[in-house]
Symmetry: C2
Subunit: 283 residues, 2 copies
Amino acid sequence: MSKSDGNAFTRQNGPSVAVDVLLFAVGRQEPENYRKLPEHVLQVFLIKQSEVPFIGQWALPGGGVGPRECLDEAAYRQLASKTHVSNVYMEQLYTWGDLHRDPRTRVISCSYIALTDKPSEKIRDGEDARWFTVRRKVIEQREEITEKGYMLREKILIQLFAEGVTLRTVINTVKTVEGKISRVWRETVEPGGIAFDHALILECGIERLRSKLAYTEIAFNLMPEYFTLTELQQVYEAVLDKKLIKANFRRKMAGFLRETSLMTKDDGHRPAKLYCFKPGWMN
Amino acid sequence: MSKSDGNAFTRQNGPSVAVDVLLFAVGRQEPENYRKLPEHVLQVFLIKQSEVPFIGQWALPGGGVGPRECLDEAAYRQLASKTHVSNVYMEQLYTWGDLHRDPRTRVISCSYIALTDKPSEKIRDGEDARWFTVRRKVIEQREEITEKGYMLREKILIQLFAEGVTLRTVINTVKTVEGKISRVWRETVEPGGIAFDHALILECGIERLRSKLAYTEIAFNLMPEYFTLTELQQVYEAVLDKKLIKANFRRKMAGFLRETSLMTKDDGHRPAKLYCFKPGWMN
DNA sequence: GCAAAAGTGTTAGCTCTACACCCATGA
DNA sequence: TCATGGGTGTAGAGCTAACACTTTTGC
């Protein structure tokens, strides 16, 4: 940030700066009968655009950063005003700066992941904001040895479901290694009704969420304060899209849990102990 | 990014956008005698500020983002022009948007990590740019159970050494858990001759680099094309600041290596096989 | 009784750790 | 010859996957 190059701090028409928030939750779907527990699915919150150039398409909640707020504050404000969700976990995901990601003007967007446990909460009235169930699939995968190194190409299908709306977006990712230098490249093939580059942001966010599940305690931000071990497991399964083995899962989680004296009841089967989160570093 | 809030895309005096690059390398220090291999240390590249308000202090290479370039391009351009290093691994680290991180005007900075294997290369003439050896130590640690949850405080000392210059910066980090919601907070206690919030960026980058060594192949970006297993181990040890056990290290790395028919020689001891990188997903 | 989920135990295989040991080189 | 690093083997601890089994509830 030395000042010696021409374009630093002198532009009056520099790029706008915005934030966009990927609000994730794990939703419970009604069980088939009184004995069964609800199924769990990963959900993301989107808003229908009412203005050109993406009128009718769906976008992440977000907007411009004010002159008196830092990025985190802007993200919180946008989330609170657009979704009525507050006091949630939030972390920066990635900053998107492609020249034409917004066709109107140059906008640099700092994206955030937010996690909540209340997808069912009344979040906004009207038809223009919805929780979408997320389904992600790798539909093509190709490994190559090239003259210069290695290449891994994947085609990814993300499907989004809400009542009356289904979106289908396709993304390509390319990982290359040339000599020792590795790179990742992502591009939208079919936006499928998702505005701006938000399909890319979503894909990036899902990847981050999944990988952080494995080596951090981030999943607890998707849980209510008290929860059963089966509920916790269902959240992992919904995010990872993969069945886990109960006994093993419980042993692995043991270090992050504080037992309570509370129990579930009236569930049509044996009551379960309720736990709450205790960080791993608290011995 | 719906357009419906007042401060989106209408400001002409919005924040400036810049990039800052943490260029890391692992340097070799001259061995004591002909038999010994060189010691390895983590190094970072800094530039001495020649203008107010941080005149005489040291900062990361960086500068404003041009109107016709995306963030990655800006980072590459800054790196190339300030350090004469190009064709290196680079990834986004974090975007810094505090209101007063630059006392002159509002600047939002997207920071990058860059990794190279050539710290010794003549990088820039004159007295105003140096490779610094990095030493990081946790000098205080406190765990607490509070009314609302848990808290982990750490005080971190980072020392930077170059010929004729020693910098000493102290940073506090606080990790809190309230109920289920976790947060991280970082602040500079003593900048110690480092400009802007670049001490924070450095600390953040070291943490990221260390944690990514464990679960990615990122370390190979710090290696030359051909290297011995001991060299690779020394790079890991320099970054992690921790001795590793040779036999175990070799077994763990086996899946990421392609053997060559080349050998070292004239080293004052038994010759070693040279390897090159092969990504883990290439079977 | 029975369906569903809560919760525990066991085994085989793998990985991680720590350490010991031998080999090859050039001065 | 010997200091130094190159390279491999092994035993024990601990983790993981997979599966089987018992317990407790509401209807």
